[in-house]
């Protein structure tokens, strides 16, 4: 890491406890917020936890409504690229795991698939919104047809639970990662495992695909791991491009919409902004004292004027401003 600056207190835009409790409620009794996603219009934030699914206004974070779910734990929420659907993943540890597909913005349940015997940790959409990749504790990734929920194929190869999945901007490749410390790159059309990227030395917690700003550039995926690193990969050729080491183990990663910054939350309650080219790092406290499980970046355009949403222990959700450049893409 070359440099590390700190944001001032002004970076904190808004902060609330979970389940609609304002800060100062009873945060010690709230379950952690383990899923966070912006609605396609960027005006609403969807949060998931053991308490269910909440829709909150952005950026004031007031609770707008709640959605009943059959999933005891919600581990991931992802909106389809066409904005029509919201996929929710989760389950009950060691008992069941499943995925729900809901219409958006109504929240109506379209189908639910709960056949797995343990948690589903992550869902990722294909760019055409036709396929859903569901990664779970059973070390498998189910590819489901969005319309019906039918299983198209199963990606098998990981030896331990799969915690994250993402898809290249052209939809040709799926990248998954998890407890076996490896990333696997799969051919999306055949399900064949094309390569294994095994430079991490700890559980890989999350993945984020760089937005496709330059169609001629190779796809780039960021991974965060318990080994304390954020790694940048070109999965289509199997190259580890570079990595940054953070002072605390990272938990979640997202790109800003312009692809100019990586945002990472960590177990030390901080939010890090990383320049993917120079590896310069800036960090800010999130007001969560420990694990910041979830991170969401508002969709569209440059993210310099927007805040980002973070959430974690004790049901806390916050809106933070981060130092994101709005200048030219430096790639």
């Amino acid at each position: 890491m070359k440099a590390m600056g700190r944001l001032g207190a002004a970076a904190l835009l808004c902060w609330l406890g979970g389940s609609g409790l304002a800060a100062g409620g009873r945060p010690g009794e709230e379950p952690p917020v383990t899923a966070l996603a912006f609605a396609p219009d960027g005006k609403e934030l969807v949060a998931g936890s053991q308490a269910g699914i909440e829709i909150r206004a952005w950026p004031d974070l007031g609770v707008l409504r709640r959605i009943e779910t059959s999933l005891a734990h919600v581990h991931d929420i992802a909106f389809s690229p066409d904005g029509r659907w919201m996929a929710v993943a989760g389950g009950r540890p060691a008992e069941s795991g499943g995925v729900e597909l809901r219409a958006w913005p109504s929240g109506e349940l379209l189908w639910t698939k709960a056949a797995r015997e343990d948690l589903v940790y992550s869902v990722a959409w294909s760019p055409d919104s036709q396929s859903l990749y569901c990664a779970g504790h059973d070390a498998r990734v189910f590819v489901r047809a969005a319309e019906s929920g039918a299983t198209v194929r199963v990606l098998e190869g990981h030896s331990r639970p799969v915690l994250a999945a993402c898809v290249t901007p052209d939809g040709a490749m799926v990248v998954t990662a998890g407890v076996d410390q490896s990333l696997r790159a799969w051919d999306a059309s055949t399900g064949e495992c094309l390569r294994v990227l095994d430079n991490h030395t700890g559980t890989v917690r999350d993945l984020a695909m760089r937005p496709d700003a330059d169609p001629d550039a190779l796809a780039m995926v960021a991974s965060v791991s318990d080994d304390g690193t954020v790694r940048l990969w070109q999965p289509t050729i199997g190259r580890l491009v570079r990595f940054a080491r953070l002072p605390a183990a990272p938990l979640a990663v997202e790109w800003t919409p312009d692809g100019a910054r990586l945002l990472v939350t960590a177990k030390n309650g901080r939010l890090y902004a990383i320049d993917p080219d120079t590896l310069e790092v800036a960090s800010a406290p999130t007001a969560i004292a420990s694990w910041v499980y979830s991170l969401a970046v508002p969709p569209g355009g440059h993210a310099g004027d927007h805040g980002v949403a973070v959430a974690g222990e004790n049901g806390q959700i916050g809106a933070l401003r981060v130092p994101i450049p709005t200048g030219e893409d430096t790639r």
């Binding site: 390569r195 430079n199 690193t229 199997g238 580890l240 570079r242 990595f243 080491r245």
Partner: protein, 311 residues
């Protein structure tokens, strides 16, 4: 145990451990055997500054930046991920060649060879390098990375390779070699890139073997003195994992032609092939097609083969 023998024992133990680690790593990723391997910045990309701690002479214990040290001049930076006998031979061959050309006729530096040691325990690495200095015989400045086993993050070095060799000038990479199974036969293609920067003719394997003070054996043995260099070069080339079936057939045909009606060369080939087939990691060397030829030569020209012929 006498100090020198102790040093040799330590070095041999390290070589053995490194070889085992490589074997394990290779065994874990069989499907990647034929794929191009990446490590470090690629051609045209920037050589970013990073820090190492010097080991020998005036640099001992001092932090320096190999990129800054090169000051824009042509540089050869060898990252040593794992020390094995073949990797040691290659590192010596590369850095000896570069050291011999590091100064121009006026005594000014024109090429900066440097070795960066990667270790999870930089202090132990410096101690090891100091103890084994004579045995290793490295003629380029050696620094231990302060960033641990994976080196500087900006370089994206691949800890699964054995050596990463970067050649650069004016802060940019001009050539990159990520070597999973290095051998001295990699030296000509690597040094051709160095020669290009210097405006010289690229060296041949014969040139390099002739220039090597120990015939290119490196520490812990290697080829027998007098082994035909062309035969050895072709044999070593056969061990690389990225050859096509056609390339393997062509190299094998060259070797067969070279040993035809040459009993000494047949003996050498039998010994080389026989030694290789007895290795625990033989199935991980080269490709299946190359291994078929190696097994054939071991049977035909190895000790048992020759005894069978006599009977």
């Amino acid at each position: 145990m006498k100090p020198f023998r102790a040093t040799i024992s330590i070095a041999c133990a390290v070589f053995a451990l490194a070889a085992d680690a490589r074997t394990q790593a290779d065994a874990d990723e069989p499907e990647q055997a034929a794929e191009e391997v990446f490590s470090g910045p690629q051609k045209g990309e920037k050589l970013v500054s990073f820090k190492v701690v010097g080991v020998y002479d005036e640099l001992a214990g001092k932090e320096f930046d190999p990129v800054g040290n090169a000051a824009g001049k042509p540089t050869l930076i060898v990252f040593v991920h794992k020390l094995t006998r073949p990797s040691h031979r290659l590192v010596r061959m590369l850095t000896d060649y570069a050291a011999d050309r590091s100064l121009d006729e006026a005594g000014k530096q024109r090429l900066v060879p440097q070795i960066v040691w990667l270790s999870a325990d930089p202090s132990a690495a410096r101690e090891y390098l100091t103890k084994t200095r004579r045995v290793l015989g490295l003629r380029a400045p050696v620094g231990v990375s302060v960033d641990g086993l994976e080196g500087p993050g900006a370089y994206g070095l691949n800890r699964n390779v054995t050596l990463t060799v970067l050649i650069g000038r004016a802060g940019r990479v001009t050539a990159n070699f990520a070597l999973l199974q290095p051998s001295d036969t990699d030296a000509p293609r690597i040094l051709a890139e160095v020669a290009k920067l210097l405006g010289e003719e690229p060296p041949t394997m014969e040139d390099l073997l002739a220039a090597a003070p120990d015939g290119g054996r490196g520490m812990g043995g290697g080829m027998r003195r007098g082994t035909d260099p062309r035969l050895l070069a072709s044999f070593e080339r056969l061990k690389t994992p990225d050859l096509t079936i056609e390339q393997i057939a062509a190299i094998a045909a060259q070797i067969d032609a070279r040993v035809k009606a040459q009993p000494d060369r047949q003996t050498d080939l039998g010994r080389l092939a026989g030694t290789l087939t007895k290795r625990r990691d033989f199935e991980l060397i080269g490709t299946a097609a190359a291994r078929e030829h190696i097994v054939r030569w071991a049977k035909a020209y190895g000790r048992r083969g020759r005894e069978g012929q006599r009977r």
